[in-house]
Every structure is written in C-alpha cells, then in structure tokens.
C-alpha cells in the first residue's frame, strides 16, 4: 500500500510535469515557429488592433454591403460558445426556422424577386453548430451576390469572381462540403470593390 502510494504520487508529479507542462509548452514553441499566423488563430488586424479571425464568422447582419454568414445562437461570439440545441420535433425549432426564412427573404427578395421560402438555402435558415461558422453554401452566396452587386454598384460578374476566389473546396477533393468563407470574402470585397 505504502509502495503504491509513493509510486502513484511520484507518477502524478512526473506525468504532470511531462505531459501537462513540457508537452503543451514544447508544442506551442514548435507551432509558433512552424505556423506563426495559424497557431495564433489566423487573426485579422486593422490599424494595429485585432478585429477577428479569418476562420470565424463576423456579425455583419445589419449591413447590406456584406455577405451574411449563417444564423448564430451566440451572436457570433468567439469567446463564449454553446450549441443552439434546437430539437427535431420542437415547436420552437419550427418558429425559429420560420423567422430565419422570413429574415432572409426580407433581405434578399428586393434583389432576387423570384425568391420563395422553398428556395431559401438550408444553411441560411438553420443555426450552425459553432455559432461562428464562416462558411455558407455556394447557392446561398449566389443569391446574396445580387444584393452585393446592386448595393455596391458593381457588375455581378466581379462579385462572382470574388466568390469563386473565396470558396474552399472539399478536403482532399472528397471530404466535407464546399463552402464560401464570408469573412475572407467580405475582406476581399472591401479591398477590391471600394
């Protein structure tokens, strides 16, 4: 018993030092040297201040000049995350989904007159898992492109070129789904299209 207590106590100290401090700190050093930008969170800086991350959605839903990411239950928080937890048979889920559809139609219909609830892309009417999903589907981006082109007074083709440039394909060509990164796309918009 005493032997076990001593060994266990020693093991806890040694493993905590090796696995709890040495391992993460060494890996932090390696990551900072090998992938400095990525290890820091792919941050976006403006005027010396961090304003976001290229991998996280930003809350731009009030501005018609930007591509809107998917609905978020967390107000696009990057520091306090939780799931929306909307069940498949819940009335509240139906009501929230309706609200997303209505909001999307209200924003996009003036620029896409043929838009009906059945044509609203699914990703535009459902909460993402993380609340900060930066990606939207290609169909969603194609609809929003009409609004961007009209509001910014630029040809649709130019907006569509930017969409293509900010579309991530499937992983290794097979895995996941293609997505248009609204965060980098909006940055590109501001640079290219005044």
């Amino acid at each position: 018993m005493r032997n076990d207590l001593t060994r266990s106590a020693l093991a806890i100290v040694v493993f905590t030092l090796l696995l709890g401090l040495a391992y993460p700190l060494v890996m932090t050093g390696v990551a900072q040297v090998a992938f400095p930008g990525k290890a820091d969170g792919s941050l976006i800086q403006a005027g010396g201040k961090v304003t976001g991350s290229r991998l996280l959605a930003r809350d731009v839903k009030d501005s018609p000049r930007y591509f809107h990411p998917r609905p978020s239950a967390t107000d696009y928080s990057g520091s306090v995350t939780f799931f929306a937890n909307r069940g498949p048979n819940q009335r509240s889920t139906r009501d929230l989904t309706r609200r997303h559809i209505d909001a999307y139609i209200k924003t996009e219909k003036p620029y896409t007159p043929r838009l009906t609830p059945a044509r609203v892309p699914i990703d535009a009417a459902t909460f993402s898992a993380s609340g900060v999903d930066p990606d939207i589907s290609k169909a969603n981006a194609a609809i929003q492109a009409h609004r961007i082109a009209a509001v910014r007074h630029v040809p649709l083709a130019r907006v569509e070129r930017l969409i293509t440039a900010n579309t991530d394909g499937r992983g290794l060509g097979v895995f996941g789904e293609p997505g248009v990164n609204t965060t980098t796309l909006n940055l590109a918009l501001d640079q290219d299209v005044r």
């Binding site: 093991a11 961090v50 799931f83 009335r91």
Partner: protein, 568 residues
C-alpha cells in the same frame, strides 16, 4: 448522395488499412519488443522507472495490478479536483477565471479521470490554461493509458501459458503506452492540426476570440478517445477543427487506436484470424450506424419541414463538414466512446439521434474507448463462447481455456453493471423533481436528454444532448456567479466512476482467473472462435444485450420522435 457515400467508403478503407500497421506496432510495444522508436525512448523509459522506483521486471497478479490502478486513480482525481478548486491561484490564467464550484469541479474531475470528458464546464469561458494543460490534458493521456493497460493485462491473461497468474506491471504498462504510443502520435497530430489552423498559443483572448494551447490538447483528446474540447462546442469550433481535411484527420485520430487494437490482440494470442474476426464484428455494427445516421440526416426534420424547408438537416451542423462528414463524425465518436462532437446531437433527427444512443447501448464494445472498447468486447466474446457452448452442449472453451461459472459471473457483472447504472439513474432523474433544472426541451426530446446524459456518462463517452445542463453561468464571461446543478453533477460523477471502475475490476479478475488456467489442446468438438459464424454470433450477443436492455428507453425517446411528425 453519391459523394456522401464516397466519403464514408474512403474513410472506412483508410481505417481498415490502418489497423494492421498501427496494430502490429502496438503488439510489439505490448510484448516489449524492439520498435523503431526504441533507440530514442529506451533511455527515457529507464530513467522514468528509476524516478518512479518501479522494478520493471516484477510482475503483478490481478489483485496487485488492480490495487495499483485504484490507488493511482484515487490520488490523481484528488489532485485534479484540487487544481480545479484552486484555479484562481495558478499561473497561465490570462482571463483571471475564478475557481470552479465544488459540484461542477467534482463532475469535471471524475469526468477526466474516467476518460469520459463529459463537459458540465465551459472550457473557454471558465478554465485557465493551467487547468486545461496540467489538469485536463494530463488526464487525457493518463486515463487513456490506464484503459489500454487494463486491456493489455486481459490480453496477457488470455494468452498466458505459464499458469503463474501474473499480468504484468501496472506502472510499467502505463509508462510504455504513454511513451511509445500516445505521446508520439499526439506530437504528430498536433503539428498536422496546427497546419490546418488550429490554435496553439499561450496568448490571451484578443478581439473577442478566446484562445489557448488548443492543438496539443485536441490531439490527445481524440487519440485517447477522451473527447473534452478546449471549447464548449468542441470540434465544431472553427479554431478547433478548421477545415474539411482537419475533420477527416480528427475522425481518423479518434478511430485509429481502437480499430488497431483487435489486430494487436490477434498477434498477441498468436492468431491474426482471432483479431480480424473481432474487428469484423465491430466493423459491421459501425458500418450500419454510419449508413443509418447519414440517411436519417439527409432526410431532414419535421420542424424544418413544417417551417417550409425541404432537404437535409443542417441545423446544428457546420457548412464545411456538411451532412455526410457530420454524420460520419457522429457515428465514429459514439461507437468509439470518444464523445468529441462536430455537430449538435440535440439537433439530430429522431432516427439519426437513435444511432448514438444504440452505439452507447453496446457498452462501448464496438471499437469503444482505447483499451476499454476491446476489453468490453472480449467480455462479450466470452459470453458468446458461453452461449455457443451451451448450444452445442460442451464445456465452453476460449483459446484452450475452460470458461467456468466464476468467469461467467464476473463477465456478467462487467457487461451488465453499466446498463443498470444508466437505467436507475435515468429513472431517478426523470422520476423526481431533481432532474428538472437540467432539462431543456419538452416532450420525448426532454426524455432523450436525461437518458443520454446517463448513458453517455456511465459508458464514459462524454458526448451530450447538450440541452441537459449541470452548470449555470449567469454572468458570462469570467465565471462570475456561476453555479452547478448539484444533482446532475453528483449523479453524473457517480455514474462515471462506477461505470468505469466496476467493469475494470471485473475485467482484471477475469484476466487473473484466465491467467492461471491450464491450456487444453483444441479438439474436434471445440467451437472455433475465428470464423465468420462466430462473428455473427458475437454481433448477435452484443445487439441482444444492447438492444434488449435499453429497448423500452429507446422507445420513449428517439423512436417516438422518428415515427412522428408531430411537434412538441
């Protein structure tokens, strides 16, 4: 749909290809043979034995092995609890998070001790980097190594020919598994994850983005089938799982060790066919899970249809993963007892949500947690041998060793105890007023939340129908005014402890009993355990025990939901 099935097929092929490579390597590590890392790691290993005062040549019988394991685990959980309760005093706390309340800390400590990683805490909003690294990440490694060590002891017991009843040395096994298996894989995994954009920094929150040493913890969280995310939304968060490729890689990391252990087992008992038969039974159940959840999620939910949407269920899923990769992740993480999630389980369709429940109902024997999965499956193998023996009217034998009444009793305890905890605790939670404050949704969804909470915790999975809460945080962020839901925290903690250690002790006792048995040569009447027929029998036993035990509960929750288009 074709693209979706292609993803599933390629992933499965990669896993089948991994099994003999990693499995062969692990078999050499378990048998203490030379591997390519030996020149580098052997000196470290020897130093560790000296520091820990371990005599590596001294074997332990099952009682000594179990005693070491229990003492080691008890001390460790006390240290972890202390770290969480004194968080305010530690370094690496740039946000100045306060210490956790006693009930949430108890739940979190047991959760990580038992390889469950159930999250009643919000990682990025309540835990300091010190707690995450020195507290949780250490347990991610150690609890995984302990699980594998118990499996190794059982494998030695089954393979033993000496009859001295020795199972190896607990401290030596844990040390070797950490050094030769978990740490090297975690180092490689961390680098790959950071290359995809996963955070790895000690820098504080900036521009409203919580940060931290995420990748190093993510790697072992997946490899050790732990599952507790740095962030509350786990592998759904883009800085924890940024790309479709990182998602693929994360799924591979979850499954690589559990899928390779049956092959290692085959090598150790001297017959690869034994290993492949068990792998085949696991794989069949896994493949069915994947296909069912994918088809169900492609169909969409009644709530979305009622709102006017047509098509797949993207609620609570990320665009970059889509339905196929989210479904695959869901099946992988629940058969494997990992509990990492890239999807909100609460938002799965009725039938899609049934799959994780059934997977957990198999008592994590289908691949399962690292080590725990295969030792649970070996209990089912012994059960199948026993049932098969009764059918053909002979004394049941497994690999030349007679399975006697004592063994079967121990197997029954190991295989059924967890199920009992799940059902009793769920009944207490839904039958009394104490479960109420934790429950979020109404109707069958609310029942599913309660049931899944205890199913997941007792089976040491850690994924959640996240509507079920044990933790209320009124003034986010900063952990100010946070308090736990004491009932949920305590019941969950107890479920995790009993769900882990009762089967472990039963398994070690079986191992000790088998290690002492004489080997009799196989005769004409011996039931073979390396044939497809036995594979089918094994699947039958697992499904029967999983399904029969939990069928009434499944009916009350996800089955009602999948049969009905009503809204609640």
């Amino acid at each position: 749909m074709t693209e979706g099935f292609l993803q599933l097929a390629i992933f499965c092929a990669v896993i089948v290809a991994t099994a003999p490579l990693l499995g062969g390597y692990m078999a050499r590590v378990f048998r203490e043979e030379r591997v390519f890392l030996t020149p580098v790691l052997a000196p470290v290993e020897r130093t560790l034995y000296r520091v820990l005062r371990v005599d590596p040549d001294r074997g332990q019988d099952w009682k000594a092995y179990g005693k070491s394991l229990i003492v080691f685990s008890t001390l460790f959980v006390l240290v972890l609890f202390a770290i969480l309760r004194t968080q305010g005093l530690h370094p690496f706390n740039p946000e100045g998070f306060k210490s956790g309340s006693w009930d949430v800390s108890f739940n979190t400590a047991t959760s990580f001790l038992t390889n469950t990683n159930w999250q009643f805490y919000g990682g990025e909003s309540t835990l300091s980097y010190f707690s995450q690294m020195a507290g949780l990440a250490v347990q991610n490694f150690v609890s995984a190594a302990v699980g594998i060590a118990v499996l190794v002891a059982l494998m030695r017991g089954i393979a033993a020919r000496g009859g001295d009843g020795l199972l190896g040395n607990f401290y030596k096994d844990v040390t070797r598994i950490l050094l030769y298996v978990l740490v090297p894989l975690a180092v490689v995994g961390t680098v790959v994850l950071v290359s995809q954009g996963v955070l790895q920094t000690l820098g504080a929150t900036t521009g409203g983005i919580a940060r931290g040493p995420v990748a190093s913890q993510e790697a072992i969280k997946l490899l050790g089938t732990n599952g507790g995310g740095f962030f509350n939304v786990n592998s759904a968060f883009p800085l924890e799982n940024p790309t479709a490729f990182s998602n693929f890689f994360e799924m591979w990391m979850i499954l690589c060790i559990p899928a390779s252990l049956p092959y290692a087992y085959g090598r150790i008992v001297g017959s690869r066919r034994q290993g492949w038969t068990i792998f085949g039974a696991m794989f069949a159940l896994f493949a069915i899970s994947v296909v069912v959840v994918y088809l169900a999620e492609s169909h969409g939910t009644p709530a979305a249809h009622a709102a006017g949407l047509a098509g797949a269920n993207l609620e609570g899923k990320e665009q970059r993963f889509g339905v196929a990769s989210s479904s695959l992740f869901t099946a992988v993480t629940t058969v494997v007892s990992s509990g990492a999630v890239n999807t909100a389980f609460e938002s799965l369709t009725g039938l899609g949500g049934l799959v994780p429940m059934v997977d957990l109902g198999f008592s994590e024997s289908v691949f399962g947690g690292v080590g725990t999965g295969l030792y649970m499956m070996l209990l089912f193998v012994l059960l199948a041998v026993f049932i098969g023996g009764l059918m053909v009217g002979r004394t049941p034998e497994y690999l030349g060793k007679k399975i006697e009444p004592t063994d079967v009793k121990l197997v029954a305890i190991g295989a059924l105890f967890t199920a009992m905890i799940v059902l009793v605790f769920t009944a207490l939670a839904v039958g009394t007023k104490y479960g109420g404050p934790s429950t979020f949704a109404s109707g069958p969804q609310g029942f599913s939340e309660n049931f899944y909470a205890y199913l997941s915790q007792a089976n040491n999975n850690g994924s959640a129908w996240a509507g079920y809460t044990g933790y209320v945080q009124p003034n986010a962020p900063g952990n100010v005014g946070a308090h736990g839901v004491t009932f949920a925290d305590l019941m969950g903690g107890l479920a995790m402890v009993f769900g882990r250690y009762v089967p472990i002790l039963a398994v070690l006792a079986v191992a000790g009993s088998l290690a002492r048995k004489k080997v009799s040569p196989a005769g004409l009447g011996t039931m073979r355990t390396d044939t497809p027929t036995f594979g089918f029998l094994l699947v039958g036993v697992v499904v029967l025990i999983g399904a029969l035990t939990f069928l009434p509960a499944f009916l009350l929750g996800p089955v009602v939901q999948s049969l009905s288009t009503n809204l609640f």
